[in-house]
């Protein structure tokens, strides 16, 4: 029943996507706009039904579906049973399709307000992407296959025919253990996908504009706005992923230049470049061709990332077993690249007519530099990530690219970006004179140097730490200085009180100041990373109950081993009390979770969050018969700055969205008033 419902939903969505392509193309060619609604409605309702069937199957332990049989267990508790819907290959493609359908709906709403050829063409492009993903679902990654031969645990053979007689297994093995270990698993993938899939929309507008040969700022405005939406979710998704890795994976890190992490970072970097260069085109009409390249590259990188993580070419938490989906995704990537860039090279002259830059010492000059750095950054990550694959494909040798490679290039690039970030917002458009720049940087430079010296004197002489604080305060100083300068000018002109003037300045140009908030967030991230990466301490001890150890000002006493069992898992761990200067701080319980009778456990660290930084406690070996346990302690100084900074950056993105919406409404009101 659910197999039929799900398959039907999937096919309706596929049909809807195909119809969207056809009707979109017709509307874009003829400029007659009707009937697109029904196609989008089919796409959306079909994918909702498909996802719904999947979730119901998981919630009701319907093991007649292969997906449920192989990735779910009766004992899997809420919310992990629902999250299992995207914890394996086929399900994750369903989530992908659903999110694409939701974005289609928003594009359609925009299009219905004022139907035009660009909107229709964009919907057609989205339709093509939809056809591909729902096509994958209907063929090589079918989530609604019926189990026709049960195994002891899970399913041994399957059929695509939804009415096939099911041989229902009594239970399944449950989802990947690592993913069952934390509730974040229920949230991180959908958020990340909102970012990843969202990059389809700006791409669709860009390709639509190229195909129609419509010059002008229209495609850019829409691509820019939709990139902002996707970028904000992608930023949040990456942040949640890092937080999950840190809190759950018990290695104390949040970023390892793992191909999967890189897959999310590359489109983020290029989309960030576009968020900046898009402003240059809006303000000065420059960089049109460049912006098209960035938007196409961002989307292509999301497909590359999907290929890397979903094809089984790379072994990690995120990669699923090898299947025919790899070649299909690779084919789609090649098609996207060849198609887009062919279109670009034949039409770019129509779309892009750029005026020349007046001076490199200008806002647009800093944006150029920012774009250069971000694209080089993405390029470096791309080479480091794909080189082992290419080498293996040609020579059969398996190699890995070490973290030192990435760090050696990423660290200087990041600091250069911070420096440019300090100058960008205070440099006027077109051209500037040294006097103005000096006036605006004077105080921030003094503040930055003072903070740098203070850090070196009181906290640490570590060069990266001092540099990050110095550059960070330079950026924060220029932002604050600019706000004060503008508020003063306004206060003088309008004879307002300074706080009132400041408030009006900040709300008056909401997008700009939201951007600055994101900048401030990036600064916090940089300082947090510098502290946590350079000033952490580590020790490893074997303790018997009653033993105590002194570590970084803490006294940690091993009280006793413990064991807790519930239907889905058994937790074995060590109970320790942490004191500082004689007073009790907290109880920590690093543990190992053994799911459903597994021999191998999943380590689960306990992290004690403190204002100065975290104490990270990991159980290396579970307590022995005598109760002795091997435990490691780590500190991550100021790591909360990283999470706070990330959230600040995301908040900036969402505030910018809200500000743009307000601006649009104001413009709309004015237009109505003029009529």
């Amino acid at each position: 029943m659910l197999a039929f419902l799900g398959s039907a939903g999937m096919l309706v969505a596929l049909l809807g996507a195909g119809l969207l392509v056809w009707r979109g193309v017709v509307a874009a060619r003829t400029d007659r706009h009707a009937n697109i609604d029904s196609a989008a409605r089919m796409l959306l309702s079909g994918s909702v039904v498909a996802m719904g069937a999947m979730v119901i199957a998981l919630l009701t332990d319907d093991f007649s579906l292969v997906y449920t049989a192989n990735h779910h267990a009766r004992a899997t508790p809420f919310p992990f049973d629902v999250a299992t819907a995207w914890a394996a290959l086929e399900g994750s493609i369903v989530l992908w399709g659903l999110i694409l359908a939701v974005y289609t709906w928003f594009v359609l709403r925009r299009y219905r307000r004022s139907p035009d050829r660009l909107g229709a063409a964009a919907l057609a492009v989205i339709g093509v992407v939809g056809v591909f993903f729902f096509g994958l679902m209907a063929t090589v990654a079918n989530p609604f296959e019926v189990c026709v031969q049960a195994a002891n645990v899970g399913c041994a053979d399957s059929s695509m025919w939804p009415f096939a007689a099911a041989d229902i297994p009594s239970d399944g093995p449950g989802p990947n253990r690592l993913l069952q270990n934390h509730f974040m698993m229920a949230i991180h993938p959908p958020i990340l996908y909102l970012g990843y899939v969202g990059m389809t929309v700006p791409f669709a507008y860009a390709i639509g504009a190229l195909a129609l040969g419509v010059a002008g700022p229209d495609w850019l405005r829409r691509s820019h706005r939709s990139t902002l939406v996707a970028w904000s979710f992608l930023t949040l998704g990456i942040l949640l992923g890092g937080w999950w890795a840190y809190e759950v994976l018990s290695w104390g890190g949040y970023w390892a230049w793992d191909p999967v992490e890189n897959a999310s970072l590359m489109p983020w970097l290029v989309a960030t470049a576009f968020l900046h260069s898009g402003i240059v085109q809006q303000r000065r009409g420059m960089l049109q061709a460049w912006n098209l390249i960035l938007v196409i590259s961002t989307f292509s990188l999301t497909i590359l990332g999907t290929f890397l993580t979903r094809s089984g070419t790379i072994n990690s938490v995120h990669s699923f077993t090898q299947s025919a989906i790899g070649p299909a995704l690779l084919g789609f990537l090649v098609l996207t690249l060849v198609g887009s860039f062919t279109l670009f090279s034949t039409r770019a002259d129509v779309v892009a007519t750029s005026p020349r830059i007046d001076s490199f010492v200008s806002r647009e000059g800093t944006f150029l530099f920012n774009n250069l750095l971000l694209t080089i950054y993405a390029f470096v990550v791309l080479i480091g990530t794909t080189y082992p694959l290419i080498l293996e494909a040609f020579t059969g040798t398996q190699v890995g690219v070490g973290e030192p490679f990435f760090n050696r290039l990423a660290v200087p690039l990041s600091f250069l970006l911070l420096l440019v970030m300090g100058f960008g917002p205070i440099t006027p458009w077109r051209s500037t004179d040294a006097g103005l720049l000096w006036r605006r940087t004077r105080t921030p430079v003094v503040v930055a140097l003072a903070m740098g010296l203070l850090t070196a004197g009181l906290v640490s002489r570590n060069g990266w730490v001092v540099l990050s604080v110095t550059l960070g305060f330079f950026v924060l100083g220029t932002i604050a200085g600019l706000a004060v300068e503008q508020a003063r000018r306004r206060a003088d002109k309008m004879s307002e009180a300074l706080p009132e003037a400041l408030r009006k300045v900040l709300t008056g140009d909401g997008t700009f100041w939201a951007g600055q908030l994101s900048h401030a967030g990036v600064v916090l991230v940089a300082i947090g990373i510098a502290f946590a990466a350079n000033l952490g301490a580590h020790t490893e001890v074997v303790l018997s109950p009653g033993d105590a150890v002194d570590f970084e000002g803490f006294t940690i006493t091993y009280e006793s081993p413990f064991q807790v069992s519930n239907p889905s898992k058994t937790t074995v761990g060590a109970r320790l009390t942490v004191t500082r200067e004689g007073s009790f701080v907290a109880l920590v319980e690093p543990a190992a979770n053994f799911f459903g009778g597994d021999e191998t456990g999943i380590p689960t660290p306990d992290v004690l969050h403190r204002p100065g930084g975290d104490l990270y406690v990991t159980l290396i070996a579970p307590p022995t018969a005598t109760g002795s346990a091997r435990i490691t302690f780590d500190t991550s100084p100021m790591i909360w700055l990283l999470w706070l900074g990330g959230l600040t950056t995301v908040t900036g993105g969402f505030l910018a969205m809200a500000a743009r919406r307000r601006e649009r409404e104001v413009v709309a009101d004015r237009q109505t008033a003029h009529v």
Binding site: N70, H71, A151, N152, V153, G154, C155, A156, D157, P173, G174, N176, R177, L178, S250, W251, G312, N315, V317, S319, F320, T321, Q322, S323, R356, I357, L372, I376, F379, V380, I383, G384, Y387, P388, T397, Q398, V399, G400, V401, G402, P404, F405, R408, L409, E540, A592, D598, E599, T600, G601, I602, P603, P605, T618, L619, I620, A621, P622, T632
Partner: protein, 134 residues
């Protein structure tokens, strides 16, 4: 020289430079992944002290601790290599787990500086079998 040519030339120059640095950096940072049989076969290529990664399974009954070090054997079924792990093992390191070790040869022994448990995607497949191959 016009501005356009200047920008073009500058861009090409910068890309070439970055590309060069990147590739150079890559070759310094490549580590080879070898299974025990490959490691034995290519013993001559990887002289003592040259880092590579060894992937295999910890042999049952081979684990013991000597002071701060841990010794065990790693196998891929066809070749078995004795290993000394000189740093902290990963959490829940145990016999029979699939491991990825980074280190180098010292005579017939592999000196591992770090070890990772390879949590591959096939958690679902029980050791006994009776579950379909992917």
């Amino acid at each position: 020289m016009g501005q356009r040519q200047f920008i073009l030339l500058g861009t090409v120059g910068v890309i070439a430079l970055i590309g060069g640095i990147t590739i150079a950096g890559l070759n310094d940072n490549l580590t080879y992944y070898l299974y025990p049989n490959e490691a034995v076969e290519r013993r001559a290529e990887f002289v003592d002290g040259e880092t590579f990664r060894l992937a295999g399974r910890v042999v049952s009954g081979s684990m013991s601790e000597e002071g701060d070090d841990m010794t065990f054997d790693v196998t891929d079924g066809s070749a078995t290599i004795p290993v000394v792990l000189i740093n902290t093992p990963p959490p829940l390191f145990n016999e029979e787990v699939p491991v990825l070790l980074e280190g180098s040869w010292a005579g017939d022994t592999f000196i591992a500086e770090s070890a990772l448990i390879r949590h591959d995607e096939n958690y679902e497949i029980p050791a006994e079998g009776n579950y379909p191959e992917p």
